[in-house]
């Protein structure tokens, strides 16, 4: 409501020139699921359209994310600041190779999970709101990957957390409420720390724009309590990523909801924590990360080993998958601890692999349950004879998760081990190899007990039929993982680009502040 007669010069605060429509690609992957989630909320009881709309929108997200990544790789980071405000004042969305690659992989996983869910989520689940929650959670995840503003990152964290609470208690069984309580409390503590750190950050720098922060963190020097800020962020995001010793909420909750929810959570949510760590500790607080590297390194080693040992001790496939998620988080943390280009690109590649592989592992558990009637290794048996097709998928997924060729987990581990040995970090290299070995045993145990073991006596009546959509979904994931494992050059190049973009943020800063002068 501009007051008549009063002329305000807006050129210092507002963008004057037009913005290319192609820049809208940065927010399309966030806007699409929000609008779809809102529409689904409005037609909540008209459940016939839910799955179809969700599938179409997920496909559109994959499409826009693909275009975005293509553009970012061709022209460097893309940025758009909301509401025509100039960057430090308005909220920027900035996509670099890291954010775009994570966002694309996340949307592919979500599309596959959505296809799987068509048969897996019954009418009650749909009426309760599975698809609106799913869309809003994906909006939060994409928003977290694409935003260029620290407080906005917090907002997207809340968006996907609150949606994930809804997904987690879908079905309202006692075990679910129990798991959700632990999940909710720990994550709320984590996000509260995140909020406190962000308030402190704003008080220190007077800006929340990541590009602005990346420029100013190097200049502000000893005057500011940067070490405190970096440590707070490390703590908050490690909690979200389920790093040791803050990992116990994950195995306590991820096995309780429907398997599709476990697949989404295990595949995507911990990676948002890793992404936030990469963004804050590597791009903004680079000097502080160097000081913290020793701590992060030991946390990484402990996380890897605790996760792998935990997986060995479990007999429920979903719990095994939960502990392997934790083990993977340790491997990515190792890359952050190393901090070199090789280490970071290994961590980024591993994160991309892990989104696909861990979701696939959960979905595999779901199919084994459909075929064999149980999640427990005590009662599953003879699946090899019942379905050689499933056995083949299980074999490839096990190889990928354990990091053996031709699975997708091999190359990032090779990169990480080499980067660790380059700087003489023997404990990290040894932990990566040992955790891979333990994960191999844990998954080999699944394979031997559930697939190779003779079907026990006359209990052959429980055998069910696997859903076609579920099988197709899993095949897509397995093919993507094989592509990563057999043709790794593309992905290595992509993750190296992403890592260099983090280590030298000048292109990122330049995308947000085209003049290059900062604020």
């Amino acid at each position: 409501m501009a007051v008549q007669g009063e002329v305000v010069d807006k050129t210092a605060a507002m963008i004057a020139g037009p913005v290319a429509a192609a820049d809208w690609l940065v927010i399309a992957p966030v806007l699409l699921p929000i609008v779809a989630g809102a529409v689904l909320l409005m037609i909540r009881h008209n459940i016939r359209w839910h799955a179809l709309l969700a599938l179409v929108v997920h496909a559109a997200m994959v499409g826009t994310n693909g275009l975005l990544l293509q553009r970012v790789l061709a022209e460097g980071p893309v940025s758009m600041t909301m509401g025509s405000w100039l960057p430090p004042f308005g909220i920027s969305f900035t996509a670099d190779a890291l954010g775009a690659a994570f966002s694309l992989t996340a949307s592919v996983v979500a599309l596959v999970c959505c296809a799987y869910s068509v048969r897996d989520i019954d009418a009650a689940g749909r009426r309760y709101g599975f698809y609106p929650f799913l869309m809003l959670m994906m909006a939060g995840v994409s928003g977290a990957f694409l935003t260029g503003d620290m407080f906005n990152l917090y907002v997207w964290f809340e968006v996907f957390l609150i949606s994930s609470f809804g997904l987690l208690i879908l079905g309202s069984e006692k075990a679910q409420i129990d798991g959700a309580t632990k999940y909710a409390i720990l994550n709320l503590v984590g996000t509260t720390l995140f909020l406190i750190a962000t308030g402190y950050l704003y008080g220190t720098f007077g800006t929340l724009n990541m590009a602005d922060l990346a420029t100013k963190a190097g200049q502000i020097g000893e005057a500011a309590p940067l070490m405190t800020l970096a440590t707070l962020y490390l703590l908050a995001f490690s909690m979200k990523a389920a790093a040791f010793p803050l990992n116990f909420w994950l195995p306590a909750s991820y096995h309780t909801p429907p398997v599709i929810t476990g697949a989404l959570f295990g595949g995507l949510l911990t990676k948002v924590g890793i992404y936030a760590l990469l963004r804050s500790l590597v791009m903004i607080f680079a000097a502080e990360r160097l000081v913290l590297a020793g701590v992060i390194g030991w946390v990484a080693v402990a996380t890897m080993l605790i996760g792998a040992l935990g997986a060995l001790a479990q007999s429920d496939i979903r719990r095994i998958a939960g502990f392997l998620v934790i083990s993977g988080v340790g491997i990515m943390l190792a890359g952050i601890a190393l901090g070199s280009n090789g280490g970071l690109s290994g961590a980024i590649f591993y994160a991309l692999h892990s989104m696909l592989a861990l979701s696939a592992l959960y979905l595999l558990g779901g199919l084994m349950r459909q075929r064999g009637g149980s999640f427990s290794l005590h009662s599953l048996s003879g699946l090899y004879g019942a379905s050689p097709f499933l056995a083949a998928l299980a074999f490839i997924i096990s190889l990928a998760v354990a990091g053996l060729p031709p699975g997708s987990g091999l190359w990032p581990k090779v990169m990480l081990v080499r980067a660790a040995l380059d700087v003489g970090a023997w404990q990290i290299a040894a932990a990566i190899l040992l955790s891979g070995f333990l994960a191999t045993i844990a998954l080999g145990r699944v394979f031997i007990l559930a697939f190779w073991r003779e079907r026990a006596g006359d209990k052959a009546t429980t055998a069910g039929v696997m859903s076609v959509s579920g099988c197709c979904a899993l095949v897509v994931l397995v093919l993507a993982m094989l592509a990563m494992g057999v043709l790794p050059e593309t992905f290595i190049r992509l993750s190296t680009t992403a890592a260099s973009g983090l280590l030298d943020a000048s292109a990122y800063v330049h995308a947000v502040f085209p003049v290059g002068s900062g604020s």
């Binding site: 963008i15 809102a38 909320l41």
Partner: protein, 139 residues
């Protein structure tokens, strides 16, 4: 709740609060108020009505499910950012027009649509929570 005073006063209170919530919503662009505050006031109006006359009465009066109202609000807020695409501006850029009705100029904007969306999200979600809690009391 069965007290006579409360049941007599509630319809007036509800009316007043709803009108006040719209006032707060519309003045919010330049002065204290806005969609969130207005939405809270409207949601408490529905909550009071529910306490006085029971949850089914409120649900019937609202006609739409509160969550559907919240969904529409989210939809409106998200879509309010889209028109700027046609003008080559970034998402959520405020676009203004001041048509005059009977000689009075009225400022209309996409910002207002966004704020009304926020209002509806808050009304929908908080009413939904309040009604669910009130429902539980009678079990």
């Amino acid at each position: 709740m069965q007290t006579l005073i409360f049941r007599t006063a509630t319809p007036f209170l509800t009316c007043l609060m709803l009108m006040f919530s719209v006032f707060v919503l519309l003045r919010g662009h330049n002065e204290p108020g806005g969609g969130f505050t207005g939405g809270l006031i409207a949601a408490s109006a529905f909550a009071i009505h529910g306490i006085a006359f029971g949850v089914p009465v409120v649900r019937r009066a609202l006609y739409f499910h509160p969550m559907a109202i919240a969904g529409f609000g989210l939809f409106a807020s998200a879509v309010a950012g889209l028109p700027s695409l046609l003008f080559g501006m970034p998402f959520l850029t405020g676009l203004w027009s001041a048509p005059s009705f009977f000689g009075i100029s009225v400022d209309l904007s996409t910002v207002m649509v966004f704020d009304i969306g926020v209002y509806l999200v808050v009304v929908g979600s908080f009413t939904s929570i309040a009604l669910a809690l009130e429902d539980r009391e009678h079990d």
